[in-house]
Symmetry: D2
């Protein structure tokens, strides 16, 4: 049994991770922490987890204690807070899967420009592995520190990485993303209350959402040269799910069908990525609660552009599920363990 | 033109009142106040009101200034805050329609027991009129201070008052109410965020919701003796609307059809109360954005009970619309002025 | 491995059953049927099930073929259709868990009065067992034909059965239920389209919903004499979940706390029924996707009534999960097998 | 008083038109028709309109009768059905505002290619005026036949027309649109039922939605040469509202601020189009129930692209409101009459 701890378990990604861990046959949750909820029982904060964890309660996040109890720590605190604790966890000898942005960007200057704060642990950026297993599987298996990707970047990099690395599309891409509200976290903010989100729809975070540098880093790696993306996120009045509509310009002589085949080949055998046949379009409802990413490629002969549509559950493949997938790899377990149930539909 | 001011206009009831006032042909809004939003333009807080009030901005609530500018003040601040300002407004010679609970209960001891605070203006309780025009129309026309009813009580008193005053039902009633989220106000509270309300449904505030004494006061007046209600409110994952399902026990020899006829007769000619024919059931969607109350009476021969169902829009007939109806009466205008548009459906 | 078939698998209860069966370690799905979708792949109708059942396709419901392939058949067709096929399935030697109303009522005359159709297999009513394991566990273990309870009755009988059988409450109960839309099935009907349900709320099916005789049958068994219920169902603008608010009248000398203790004792050790501590109220969101029923008992000292609130997921404990629980019992498996994951929250 | 009739009044656009007409001071509704609902009272189909039209009932659509009673007919039937009746209405001497696609496209061959049906009244295409008053106001004032624009095209043409006609952007535009479900009409179709739309989000109608030729016709008129658009529509789980996110490529030397200023100038004085100041983004909730279009221009310096976001209520500015605006112009009334109330928010 792998012993794991969850730091910052009082948010939605933490709760989702605990939901998934409850069904994982090789994991034992030995500690959960939250400064805010310290001392409370998990089941009083999340009644949905009452039967799975009847006695678990929130503790203070003390790195040495966590390292003594756990083999691996999932760190679900926000950026800044993550880089304040992760170095101590690693120093104490425990593996870490971090959910924040703090270890995703290789260049600390880029981090500091987009996140407007000094990076306090730049020495870890080299060893941190970007936790997208379909791209960095080998590296994740050897990693001590995995930086879980952002939810939007997961929905964007999976479809674009193979196409850019094979030089099939131009490096200018336009990404129109729509996310459910749980992506904004479990926080009492006025723009998130029901009456402000329900029956509403809006773009936000323009022009420069913080997930952009992460997308551009990974896509530039893929392309071998700099990629610039136009990215517009929108807030959907649903709880879970991201759908990204991506407009690409195929290189001369490359058809939309060619792009679809390239994606099918790239993801053949991947348990969590499906490329839909022509005529079928993905729906966020079809991946609800799962670690799946579903992709469709739609050629538009009239304009010579191609539209790629991807869907994920932002809390699963976009956060907790992908982190668990990484943990499986880091711990030598079957990659799909604990991640195989079908979507909750309807 | 009647000159009105709105104190505490940064909440949902204030915004709804301003929406209605924008279409009222005999009203000019001369001032809006909000301590929290002081100095900001209304349109920056509520873009939906940008065209109607391009230049209006939030001011500090200063009673003398308000009384100088306005003929009537709508007071949309919470209980406690209301009784702190209403006496000064009245003393300065302006009429007041108050939205809070502070002047609804005739007995200050009852107020203090349910609201757990001392009443600081008990001398006004006698002159305050309960602002349910279908019951207290004459008194409202003469009033200087009207206490707008709570949203739940409006949905309950309208159907029950005539039946109790005519002695047609027993004094034990069971009220199962369901309200949209806007009833909880425009406040950044964790239980109100979208991900906690969407796809969820729960009762709350048990066993003693603060709207109970108000219902019992008015229903006891109607019955001529004490009425005790069982009242369970629930939170609906919709923005607007209250539906109350009320279980009553007819007096011997009284049928459900008799009750329906009594209601039809009681509300004949009333512009805002409709009693549906047998077989038709009301939906909150049919009154969205309107000052309407729709009632159905359903006899259940198997159990000799009768079910009464009422629907209102909690922000209109349950708050701002009813207040405007009272204003029309207090100012000698046609009672329906500014309140006649159909519901927004779908 | 238990071999099962699902007749009428193109509806929501069928799809939900297949979702649950996909995670059941001791079951193999050998056939699914649907007249309407005959020949189509399951994954083309329900993309959410694509990975779990990549090759399964809908066949014609032929009893002998089904009995040859399967040990047990789940029958998810509507009433009337069920009694047309179940006798042949049983005659062919296969066990059946039926989801319809056709075998729930012991008295064919009651069935015929409420369902307005002749019962064509009354000879099976005696041997059919009402599939509520918490009440009829022993009988289910021996049964060849189990009649899965309706969703509303499940939410009502679980809390009331122990209280009536112990004589703790009067036999007059008032049940105010609210159900998500999936309870109405996967059918293209105008009142079910999004624009008619969203931001709407209404009662329906008054005064005589067909789940009433089923509730009264089981509650009368419990009480040992006839029980009559007032029952009002409402349509919630959510996909899954039933919440029933039940108003009961304790017998003299019985307190609300007494009722709560009686329920706790009755369901001690039951894996799928939880009685919440005082002060906690259940939410349908806390059981989403699970076989759980959560109950709260709220005494109201002012009125000497007690409010009991129950929540279930109508598609799971109200249909497919409970059927699977019965299957486990009928096949000698652990009762909770395949039914233990936490709720999908948020 | 203008006497109007509404043909095909049993759908959502018809109902919305009747809602707006109920508040129009210079209009009398003399007849409504619907083959399907013939003989029924309007209030039995749309209870929300009960008070406004207590006695109106659906009749058969008989052109000569309609022309005798009405000065102007709104035709809310689908394409094909429209061109079957509009010629007779015009021949009978009545003005027509048509909601369908039948008279929007100037070239019958384009119509026949996209709608896959023969155009049976091509002789009317020349005299039909595209009913977007901000572009074709003078022509609408003189028109006998106005073809109301599609909802998506309205949200797209308003922001792009001035920019293309002034040569400020390239003719390649990418349009990512999201629409509420009411745009799909009041029809009992499986993909529209609540459980299929709620908590779901998907693109649809790819690659060739029928609103494309209409956009391209009007934008090509503006540009003076052929414009080709990439257009991806998505289905939002809300009832009302369209948000279009439009990616444009400014001509060399043109900045995003320049584009915003050009739009502000183009729509200065227009009562129904607002260009938001920098930093403000539109939300469909801010125009709910209104004839408003709100536009934002967001420069993205990193990519030299500009994002334009527009919102409308698909049933109002996207259908019934715009039709009413046209009627006002055709009948010599003030253009804003009956269209001035603020949005229903929240």
């Amino acid at each position: 049994m792998i012993k794991v701890a969850v730091v910052g378990a009082s948010g939605y990604t933490g709760a989702e991770l605990l939901r998934l861990l409850a069904c994982h046959p090789e994991v034992e949750v030995v500690s959960i922490t939250s400064r805010k909820e310290k001392g409370r029982l998990l089941k009083d904060v999340f009644p949905s987890l009452a039967l799975a964890y009847p006695d678990l309660h929130f503790e203070d996040p003390e790195p040495k204690t966590l390292a003594r109890k756990a083999d691996l720590v999932f760190c679900c605190v926000p950026h800044r807070a993550a880089m304040a604790i992760v170095p101590d966890l690693l120093a104490a000898g425990v593996k870490v899967v971090d959910f924040s942005a703090d270890f995703r960007l290789k260049d600390p200057a880029t981090y500091e420009r987009w996140y407007e704060t000094k990076h306090t642990a730049p020495e870890l950026l080299d060893e941190a592995v970007y936790g997208l297993p379909e791209i960095w599987r080998e590296e994740i298996m050897e990693a001590h520190l995995v930086a879980g990707p952002g939810c939007y970047p997961t929905s964007v990099i999976l479809p674009l990485h193979p196409l850019l690395s094979q030089g099939l599309i131009e490096r200018e891409v336009i990404i129109d993303s729509k996310s459910g509200v749980s992506g904004a976290g479990r926080a009492a903010k006025l723009p998130l209350i029901f009456a402000e989100v329900n029956e509403a729809f809006r773009a936000y975070g323009l022009p420069g959402h913080r997930h952009i540098p992460e997308m551009e880093q990974e896509l530039s790696f893929a392309a071998g040269s700099e990629v610039r993306v136009s990215f517009v996120p929108h807030l959907l009045p649903i709880t879970r799910g991201i759908l990204s509509t991506i407009y690409v310009f195929p290189r001369p002589g490359v058809s939309g069908d060619h792009l679809r085949e390239a994606l099918k080949k790239a993801y053949q055998g991947e348990p969590f990525v499906s490329v839909l046949p022509p005529g079928e379009l993905p729906d966020v409802a079809h991946v609800r609660g799962t670690n799946q990413c579903r992709l469709a490629v739609v050629p538009d002969e009239r304009t010579a552009r191609v539209v790629i549509i991807s869907v994920i559950d932002n809390l699963v493949k976009g956060a907790a599920g992908q982190a668990l997938q990484c943990m499986n790899l880091m711990c030598g377990l079957k990659e799909t363990m604990g991640l195989v149930g079908p979507a909750l539909y309807p």
